[in-house]
């Protein structure tokens, strides 16, 4: 069992996390969708984004700020039936 940090810091540390396609990421500073994609080396073209299950149009990527606890989904085109 891992050592728990002190009780004051733990909730704060947990609350700084976001998830991108179910992978946890530490949110060190407030980020826009565009900044997040850039930081994670995602291409900005050919992807679409949803935050907390809601579609975020590309026109809002610069203005939409991500908050701790947000679940971000980034999708790309693929073959399908």
């Amino acid at each position: 069992m891992s050592q728990r940090p002190n009780a004051i810091n733990l909730p704060e540390r947990e609350s700084q996390e976001i998830e991108v396609n179910h992978v946890p990421h530490r949110l060190t500073t407030p980020l826009s969708v565009t900044s997040l994609l850039t930081q994670l080396a995602h291409p900005l073209d050919g992807v679409a984004v949803a935050v907390n299950g809601a579609f975020v149009p590309k026109s809002q990527w610069c203005t939409q700020t991500l908050n701790p606890g947000d679940q971000i989904e980034v999708v790309a085109p693929m073959q399908g039936g």
Binding site: V23, H42, F55, E73, V75, A76, P77, M78, G80
Partner: protein, 235 residues
Amino acid sequence: MTDSWSLGDTHLQSRLMIGSALYPSPQVMQTAIEASGADIVTVSLRRQTAGQNMDTNHWQWLNQMPVHWLPNTAGCYGVREAVTTAHMAREMFDTHWLKLEVIGDEQTLQPDPFGLVEAADLLIKDGFEVFPYMTDDLVLAQRLVDVGCRILMPWASPIGSGQGIRQPQNLQLLRERFPEVQLIVDAGLGRPSDAATAMELGCDGVLLNSAIALSPDPTRMAQAFGHAVAAGRMG
């Protein structure tokens, strides 16, 4: 013989629609799609993994093709998920067409009729042309038409099963009861003769994927399906 027709607001030459999944390589996919003569190709969306180079291979090949995209909501089990995926697909592929899939059973991938109607209603109100992937149930078809579907896509049998048309009389009934709706058989067709039968039953088109993509010779099978659809239409 030309047999042009319109689907929604788009003019088309072929009544065969084809999926882009499961081909052994992008090159085979491209050749098979071209050989099929299809004007409409289904595509999908997948989650990107952070830092991973996007697997753009198939997409780059697809993107060069002069076809209409029909994005799907494959893998969606809930209304909200399907609606969000639909919006992402509309932006990504720049089309209001959507093959709406709301899956109700993981094993057979049988659609959830209740979720399908709810999602279709929301999306049609939001300007989508919804192609609902459905069973061949008459009352479900009525509910979908009631919320504004102009196109219905009943399955022939479970997706990928290749069982052919399990209940031809159900498709016939849909044809009789919804003469004004574009009826496209989607899923379960195994042989070109299944596609010919669907057209003989009065369907407006067929959509298939695995029967071509998983065939030992996808290009030849794509041609065979193209001929079968034309033959069934003429017959």
